[in-house]
């Protein structure tokens, strides 16, 4: 009653009752106090990784789907045909709005701006977090550089919006590469001597991950942006440090992909997938039971009891099926489950048979069955040691050194007990021959892991034209993606990617 009387009196006197309007949100975090404590920093860290994981499918499409690995038979209408066949123009712009990467970068910038001001009970944790953040930012910018070439450089979060001073132009590739190199350096400086993995898990960025990225990016810088030997040397040094950080090859190839062995030592960084948290994209490389179950695998086993709950929208190309068509190579069956119309009288099809073949499912990322449905929760590596070894082979070749040791290490594991050096070992050849051997080895070793397109690009434009039927040297602009009219409409300082009609 008191309150009512107070209310009536104050209202009639036009008194503001202002204090009634001061509310704080019970359930949402606002700007006030978010970055005040260590807990905020850790919530922000988990945010960086959920976001990074959300971009994983885009990294995969950018890194592989544009290459010669897909375009084969699918049970359902194929996805991303525009990327597979490079039917790209300023009219048909895939992944507009910079594929959402700047939202991620804004949040990393926010993290990098605020975390240094937080007091940690263990200062080493803070350094490790900063090493992770710089590493992630370098990875995003590296992906953008490879995808669009020139992109705007933004290193601070923009909190105050002034419409009259909001537009930003694309920075030249060289400046973007300088930023990537600076961030890699900042990451390594932050990690210092700390080669540990956060929570002992390789689902967080680490010094080893930054070194792998460094090797990768410096090869690009040396080979594509003209940095030459200086960059290659940096790359080699970085890559060779990784084995000292608890990283090694798994003993057999199928063991890498065992669902129970997701925390293996070969993975340097992998995206974490768990039920109730997130599932990976490889669901789209399995299939629906109605189509899969009437089929047979290459060994002639019926798939009728195979539980699946997915889609079949990316079909491996005949090229990759033929490359892996070697029953002695464990990668042949560990990469894809090939499906056939029949069981060939019980014999199956140990070798690829084009007439009976109807489609394939991934075998690297099959996920697991729970409650009668398949869920795709394999962790997915972004860098693993086999990748690093072949990058070392690559940089050695670029420096004029013999890359065969690394190539053969990979082959030996792939063939296992079937390995016959006389048949399977690689011997050093010309620079071109080496390049081709490394490309092929990476193709077979890393198929479906989102690498092939970048491998071809990193080797040089001619390797793209030679391998991708949809892109010729007269269409070099297709190596980079265009930007959409809407992006220019929002920010008139942006110019279209070179070679695309304005």
């Amino acid at each position: 009653m008191k309150k009512i009387i107070y209310f009536i009196v104050c209202s009639f006197l036009l008194y503001s009752c202002e204090q009634e309007l001061e509310l704080t949100s019970p359930s949402t975090l606002t700007f006030q106090g978010f970055w005040d404590t260590e807990d905020g920093a850790k919530g922000g860290q988990a945010g960086l990784y959920t976001n990074f994981r959300s971009s994983a499918s885009i990294f995969w499409v950018f890194g592989e789907v544009r290459s010669d690995i897909y375009g084969g038979a699918t049970f359902e209408s194929p996805a991303d045909t525009r990327m597979i066949e490079s039917t790209i123009s300023s009219t048909s712009v895939p992944y507009g709005n910079w594929a959402g990467f700047y939202t991620r970068i804004h949040r990393i910038n926010d993290f990098i701006l605020n975390v240094p001001n937080i007091e940690f009970s263990n200062p080493d944790e803070k350094s490790h977090l900063m090493g992770q953040a710089y590493g992630l930012r370098a990875f995003y910018y590296y992906t953008m550089l490879k995808t669009w070439g020139d992109v705007p450089i933004i290193t601070e979060p923009k909190f105050n919006i002034d419409p009259s001073d909001i537009n930003r132009a694309r920075s030249p590739k060289s400046e973007v590469m300088n930023l990537i190199k600076a961030d890699i350096q900042a990451s390594l400086t932050s990690f210092g001597a700390d080669g540990s993995y956060w929570n002992n898990k390789r689902i967080y960025w680490s010094k080893a991950a930054t070194l792998a990225l460094k090797g990768d990016a410096y090869i690009w810088s040396g080979n594509i942006l003209g940095g030459g030997t200086a960059d290659f040397t940096e790359a080699k040094t970085a890559l060779q440090q990784i084995s000292g950080l608890g990283v090694s090859l798994e003993s057999t190839f199928p063991e890498i992909w065992s669902f129970s062995n997701q925390n293996n030592d070969e993975f340097i960084f992998s995206f974490s997938y768990e039920q109730d948290q997130a599932t990976n994209i490889y669901r789209s490389l399995t299939g629906r039971g109605t189509e899969v179950q009437p089929k047979f695998d290459q060994s002639g086993n019926s798939m009728s009891d195979f539980t699946t709950n997915g889609a079949n929208r990316y079909g491996p190309s005949e090229k990759i099926l033929l490359l892996l068509d070697d029953p002695l190579d464990s990668r042949s069956t560990a990469t894809f489950i090939k499906l056939y119309q029949d069981d060939n009288g019980g014999a199956g099809y140990p070798n690829y048979d084009a007439t009976a073949y109807v489609g394939a499912m991934t075998n690297k990322f099959l996920g697991t069955v729970t409650g009668g449905a398949r869920i795709s929760t394999n962790n997915v590596p972004l860098y693993r040691y086999a990748d690093v070894l072949l990058l070392i082979a690559e940089v050695k070749n670029l420096l004029g050194e013999d890359p065969s040791t690394e190539i053969n290490t990979i082959r030996q594991r792939a063939y296992g007990t079937n390995y016959n050096a006389a048949l399977h070992a690689y011997t050093n050849g010309t620079k071109v021959a080496n390049t081709e051997a490394i490309l092929e080895e990476r193709f077979k070793e890393l198929a479906t892991e989102g690498k092939r397109w970048w491998d071809l690009r990193r080797a040089g434009d001619t390797y793209v034209y030679d391998n991708i039927q949809y892109i010729s040297s007269s269409d070099s602009h297709l190596l980079q993606l265009p930007i959409s009219i809407d992006m220019i409409g929002r920010n008139p300082l942006l110019v279209q990617t070179t070679g695309y009609a304005e």
């Binding site: 700007f31 123009s89 039971g289 449905a373 009219i485």
Partner: protein, 1077 residues
Amino acid sequence: MLYIKQPNNMKQTKNLLKSILMLTLMTLCLSVYGQEKIVKGKITDEDNEPLPGASVLVKGSTTGSQSDFDGNYSINAKTGDVLIFSYIGYAVQEITIANQTEINVILGEDSSVLDEVVLIGYNSQSRNTLATSVSKLDTKILETSTRSNAATALQGTIAGLRVTNNTGQPGSTPSIILRGGTTFGGGGSPLILIDGVPGSFYALNSDDIESMEVLKDAASTAIYGARAADGVILITTKTGKVGKSNIIYRYRTSINKERETPDYLSAGDFIKYNRQAVAYYNEASGKTNFNGSFLNGPTAFGTGNNTTDSSFTTQFLTDANKYLLNFPGWQTIADPLDPSKQILFQENDFSDLIYQKSVSKDHYLSFDGGNEKGTFYLGLGALDNEGLILGSGFKRYSGKFTGTYKVLDNVKVTASVNYIHSNLSLSPLGSNSTIFRRLAGQANTNRIYVNNPDGSLSSTLSPGTNSGFGNPLYYQDKFKRKNLEQRLSTSLALDWDLIEDLRFTLKGSHFTINNHNESFNLAYLSGGNLNTSRTASASLGRTLRNQLTALLNYKKTIGENHNFNVLIGAEYYKNNVFGFSGSTRNSPSDLIQTLNAGAEANGIPSTYESDEVIVSTFGQLNYDFNKKYLVGLTFRRDGSSRLGTEKFGFFPGASFGWNVHNEKFFESLNIDNVVNAIKPRISYGVNGKVSSLGLYQVYGAYGSQGLYDGQTGYANTGLPTLDLLWEKSATLNMGLDLGLFNNKISIIGEYFIRDVKDKIAGLTLPIYTGFSSITTNNGTLRNKGIELTLEANLIRNNNLSWDVSGTFSKVKSYAQKLPENDNDLNRQSGTQIYDPATGDLQWVGGLQQGKRVGYDIVIAYVQDYIYANQAEVDAHASRDDKLLRGAKLRYPGDVAWKDLNNDNIIDFKDRQVLGRTTPDFVGGFSSNLTYKRFNLYVKTDFAVGHLIRNNLREKGLAQTQGNLNQFSEVLNSWTPENTETNVPRFVFVDYQRNMSRGSSYFWEKGDYLALREVTISYTLSADQLKVKTLKALKLYLTGSNLHYFKNTTTDTPELGSFRQGDFPLPRTFTFGIDITL
């Protein structure tokens, strides 16, 4: 002359005035001369109730009289005189005196909109002293047909209000947009006040509603300030009336009928066209990657199916399976790719499986009554409305009580309770798109029941591909969904007449919503596997809303002509929302469907809470001088918790009107036989709006990003905008009320300009900022429009009356002002196309200063013609099509696109603006014909000018799903035999992008006229009924949503833009009976 001493109180003044009046009347009576007789009689209403105080006047004289308490009157008049009988709220009647001395008159309720009493917010006013823009619903529409949501009655009945029924789901609330909305996207819902308490139409029983008024211009809505920018709908529920007691029982029963389903291909044609489509795909792509799955696999037109239980039935005819031809539905067709082979299949009509038998029952019982001390009203309702789609429906039980009592001579208390208990059942089969586009759009080669090995049908349902694309009959009982919502609205009001003419009112209200949802998935077959995750989920949503209002109202007439009505008030509003949800999985059994049987948590249980507070002070002054000059002034000052540093806003309103017909000079014009009422009016007012702003949005946000390694991640999801200003919409409204031929025809016209300043909207940002837009004060939105309401009483006599009415409204929106940026016209967003006028590129869409808002424009590639033959293809041999996979690879049957800029390249520039997805104008007509005891009521509504793209049609013709059926339009598609057509050839997954590039061919004109309701009723009065206790009986038959006059292929022409499957309104036939005791 009498000298009057200064009166010492108000009562004396009133008595004095009364005496003067009586004296005057007596004098008038005395001044009448001879040869007159006394005419007597009784004045009653249509229900035979006496009308006390009705006036009787001899036309052309000053002679007048009034009826007494029993409705009896007497007056001196001559034979041949015309007597005018009138009573407020009733139609005026003129009767010429013949030889009789007794004339009994029944006055019918006046339906002239110009005299009706309307609620204006915290107060009521007769329309003839009103200068603002207020519309009142003719509540006749509420009396018939089963209405699971009362707002559906507003469609086409209120000028300026665009009401769109979005779905045929029973219980759902249509979208309501006033005067084009106050967002750049054309949205914004009016404030709904139920007896002054903010609420919604959902679950409200239409039988409880006495009246609905819509406040449209800002001068009228300013009294509701901060929440009223999108207009205000005032709903008044029924209350008891003094001197009348009634028991009323209503019963309605309805059956719902499906609308025309799209005309899909038969199974044989489906197989033929789709197999050919794959061949076309293979030819164009140089690939055969679909052969394994779609031509030869176990798919809708593939031949890899079996004789018993595969999802589909197609297979090559062999000696082993030809026995199936002995069973119903099994047929063959030659394989178009190899005519030497026959394809065996079973034709099953799939598109109808989503429907269920749908009947509704609606009971309503009310008791009301009252005397000088108090009144009461009790209404009880029970509605069971089954939906047309499997598992859909709505049940509602409602109880409403309102009682008033005069505790003291000058103190009245009013208490009101309204409790509604409802169950909303959405179809468990999935979203409307899943049901209408996917489930109903499946090919007729699907298997419904598994075949026994001998070929006969078993009773086992075939599940089909999976739950999102399977057999509705199998899945209908696999997903249990339960909803219960309780709504309780209570209020207590105190009216205290402090002194004569001054009333203090205090009203407190409490409104609660408790919404419970439960769901459980039984074990079900999907894609050949038994899914046993048995997810069980529960959620609770709770709203607590309190409002306290205090008012002081002073009504006074000073002198004879100065009428004042002054109101001042204060209000406090608090809204609290709480939500809880949790889920478990891997329950061992289908038998227990609650969470407790689950083996583990499914996701993270969660609760959420938020608060909002608004404090307000407001005032209103209405003044008229002798009902000629009308002035209304209003203000409201609102403080909202949503804003940062600027929490308070001030919202004034003013209106002026002039009743020209009450002027002396008007009489001298001698046109009152034609124009009997004419009132120009003008108003200006300001409203606020902060609802486009999230509750705590100004503080910025760090939002949850989901879990990583078991940790909840947070990231910056919103920027802080503490200095955001109130969005203020200022409306200038000009209106004209016209009464013609003695109010036989009434016209209310409005023209308005509404400027929404400091529009709180998303400012589009460059993407590098990490945000696509920021909510800020983003310029000025302007709406301009006209509205017309017309009502004509064409026939009025004792046996026959016929009224027609119509509404019409048109509104356009402009980006009047935008914040400065680097773009021409400070453009935000939009796209570029060729401009034939300049030969250059132009920006269209988005926002451009001074131009119409471009968010609803339709831009498409223009289909010129279909290449009939190779020669026509060759004519364009050098043309590049940037959307094709092979830029120059074209075939006969593909679309020849218009090369608008003649550069021989088809690209984004060759798009054209085709129109808009919102209508140019909307409205409705209704007709009400009464002959003796029969009544025929017809209501229509229409919208013109909006474009619709039907994805059911386009997705099928593009066949990007693989197993989806096509509209029969494919039969007219290009084939080598059918070359003169405008339907492109049918290519699998639309490889040549003849369809799925945004083609002009798929944009359909949405113009429609809906025959919304036809009711025929028959009323029996007390004297016709032999039973004493029965006062009246009414029987009626109603047809709702009977027919659309339209050209679209969708069954929902009200809905513009891109349609991916909608639940259309069923055709409903209702029988009803009203019994009054």
